[in-house]
């Protein structure tokens, strides 16, 4: 099978082209480094079945991060290259194009973001470019699909130029790039667009910080408002009106009690199904993922999708840079961190954009300790913020503040103790763009269906396992074994150990269990903080093992355990 590699600079729209070419949707954003691994797809090109790979973006063939290394290593295995070029940024993009041509792999150029050239006053003569490069050049707009048919149609023309130039120095190559750009590009006057006004405001030294705070506050407010709204007006009523009668019927069928009843329906509370307390496979097991967590996941990814596609995140990275250096990171680490607030798995994958091993180790450890995923946050808000059970939003704030402090303090310590270097920030700031709603919708759907497909079965499984282990009395034995720490140090009842252990499978389900134990507000704060900080869930853990290797994983785990022991004890003392 022909192996086609989609290569180019970061943030030139390779993933959008990939989605268009293969018909499979993958995550695209407006910042460099969205794709850190590689995604494969298949399509028919000129009558032959081809495998097409979306390669992470790279500025040159001399890699400076893990993600760029992935890209360069993959070149060896390519039969044909589709070089995605940002038409609005020819000079820098063509520098990579010339480097790729030197590899003598048949190539076709997709001159992407073609629609952007017009309103930015850039005129490019694509035919002339084709003549000069001596490979086919097709103008495309990845997000709308314009030019894709032609790209596929001309794919068979991909070739190695007759006369491949090799350059003895970077200067020589740049000179050739300058020569080409001079021949194919002309610039015309354009007006100051309102995008640029936003640009000026968000990159102002003081104004930018104010805007960043507003954006963060707005995000939290929106996610909470929208999440609660969906729960109160859609999810909860749906369960109440449609699902409860079914479950009650099932309960009667099962005789209102017994092992199977307890596993499937759970404990009836006052003869009724209580979705947060019953803890049956079909009651709480479905209610947690679909009614308590999913609404927050939708709300969070909706806002994240907009922030990503507008191009705000790299600006935030610049503003946060000085602060992040204190934690042994640089500003760009804020992007993996923000992704981790959705789910730690993509967050940890995204740390590949960081250049040094020290940075990646610190970033991954800090995410595992201080960044609760959307599912866990939804449950923390639901359980700790539940005023009926003696909680409240003030207690939720204590949990967040504790996690934030743990994140900062651990970062400061790791910065001073972990060997290695923390290079400076060097990133491209993409122009602001107004994302098409269709793209935002697609991405949101992709992430939500991913959550349903991946999280729902594990949550259901977790609830099942919990019920079976309870029945077998396994938790009781473990609880006795660990009680000195749990009760002595953290001031929690022995039962909580069960929930904390369940947290290894799914933290949202574990939080749901904590809600059934009748804890005091203080105990809820301590236990949910511990749950968030200690041991990542199994999905994250597997990924950490892969990205860090056994030794560093052991180190990271030790740091997590130490942090959680101290934080739990401090909270127990102070609160």
């Amino acid at each position: 099978m022909t192996r086609v590699l989609l290569v180019g600079n970061p943030n030139v729209g390779k993933s959008a082209l990939f989605s268009r070419l293969t018909g499979t949707h993958i995550i695209t954003s407006n910042y460099p480094g969205t794709t850190v691994g590689f995604t494969k797809g298949y399509l028919k090109l000129g009558g032959v079945q081809a495998e097409i790979i979306d390669v992470p973006g790279t500025y040159s063939l001399e890699p400076s991060s893990r993600a760029e290394e992935v890209a360069v290593n993959m070149l060896k295995d390519g039969d044909v290259l589709i070089n995605a070029v940002d038409a609005t940024n020819l000079e820098r993009n063509l520098n990579l194009t010339l480097q790729l041509l030197e590899r003598r792999i048949p190539m076709i150029v997709a001159l992407n973001m073609w629609d952007d050239t017009k309103h930015r006053g850039i005129n490019v003569d694509a035919a002339k470019l084709e003549e000069l490069l001596d490979v086919p050049v097709v103008t495309t707009v990845g997000i709308t699909g314009q030019g894709i048919r032609e790209l596929v149609g001309r794919f068979s023309e991909a070739r190695v130029p007759k006369d491949v130039r090799t350059y003895s120095s970077s200067d020589e190559r740049w000179a050739r790039v300058g020569d080409i750009v001079g021949q194919v590009q002309s610039l015309s006057h354009r007006h100051h667009t309102w995008y640029e006004r936003i640009e000026d405001a968000t990159s102002h030294p003081v104004g930018g910080i104010i805007i960043a705070l507003l954006v963060l506050f707005g995000t939290f407010w929106f996610v909470r408002f929208a999440g609660e709204g969906i729960i109160n007006y859609v999810a909860s009523p749906l369960f109440g009106f449609l699902w409860t009668p079914v479950l009650l019927k099932l309960s009667t069928l099962l005789g209102g009690g017994g092992l199977w009843h307890n596993i499937l329906v759970g404990q009836l509370i006052g003869g009724q199904i209580d979705y947060t307390q019953s803890f049956g496979f079909l009651s709480t097991g479905l209610y947690i993922p679909l009614a308590e967590v999913l609404p927050y996941v939708i709300a969070f990814y909706f806002v994240l999708g907009i922030l990503e596609d507008v191009g705000y995140l790299p600006r935030l990275a610049v503003l946060m840079d000085t602060f992040m250096h204190r934690l042994g990171l640089h500003g760009y680490a804020i992007i993996p961190t923000i992704l981790a607030f959705g789910c730690n798995v993509p967050g940890i994958l995204a740390t590949r954009v960081l250049e040094s091993r020290k940075q990646r180790f610190i970033a991954m450890t800090l995410i595992s300790i201080g960044v609760p995923c959307a599912a866990l946050q939804a449950m923390i808000i639901g359980v700790v913020g539940n005023a009926d059970a003696g909680g409240g939003i003030g207690y939720v704030a204590i949990v967040y503040a504790s996690l934030f402090i743990a994140w900062i303090v651990t970062g400061i310590i790791l910065n001073r103790t972990v060997k290695g270097f923390n290079p400076e920030l060097l990133i491209e700031i993409p122009p602001y763009r107004l994302p098409p709603w269709r793209i935002i919708g697609q991405k949101l759907w992709l992430r939500i269906s991913g959550f349903i497909k991946e999280a729902l079965p594990i949550i259901l499984g977790t609830v099942l396992v919990v019920n079976v282990l309870y029945f077998l009395g396994v938790f009781h034995a473990i609880g006795n074994f660990l009680s000195p720490v749990v009760t002595g140090l953290w001031g929690l009842p022995k039962d909580t150990i069960t929930a904390l252990l369940v947290g290894f499978l799914r933290k949202d389900a574990a939080m749901g269990m904590l809600g059934t134990l009748g804890l005091t507000a203080k105990q809820l704060v301590v236990s949910s903080t511990i749950l968030a900080m200690f041991f990542p869930c199994v999905a994250t853990f597997v990924l950490l093992a892969r990205e860090l290797g056994a030794r560093d994983l052991l180190k990271a785990t030790g740091i997590m355990l130490a942090a959680v022991l101290i934080m739990g004890a401090l909270q127990n003392l102070i609160l």
């Binding site: 000079e91 820098r92 930015r120 030294p205 840079d321």
Partner: protein, 86 residues
């Protein structure tokens, strides 16, 4: 005759909105390579678009793209402006 400042300045010392040409003498081969790949190389005109508080990154406009560089790096990228001597 207008007198121009001949002492090279660093990007960190440039004023926001000011344009200059990248001069030689950027420190460190690794840095040179990474900057080069981003299009920041000797002779290239750059404009300082913005800076951040507390010695944070400096954003430069080069060609039609914007690149943010850490403050330490910004201090090592030397430029020649056509700034008048006071």
């Amino acid at each position: 005759m207008t007198e121009y400042q001949n002492e090279p300045l660093s990007v960190a010392q440039m004023r926001t909105g000011e344009s200059a040409r990248v001069g030689g003498g950027v420190g460190g081969p690794g840095l040179v390579r990474r900057l080069d790949a981003m299009g920041i190389r000797p002779g290239k005109p750059v404009t300082k678009v913005s800076s951040t508080l507390f010695h944070g990154p400096v954003t430069l406009s080069v060609n039609s793209s914007r690149v943010a560089v850490g403050f330490g790096m910004a201090r090592r990228i030397l430029v020649r402006t056509d700034r008048h001597l006071p």
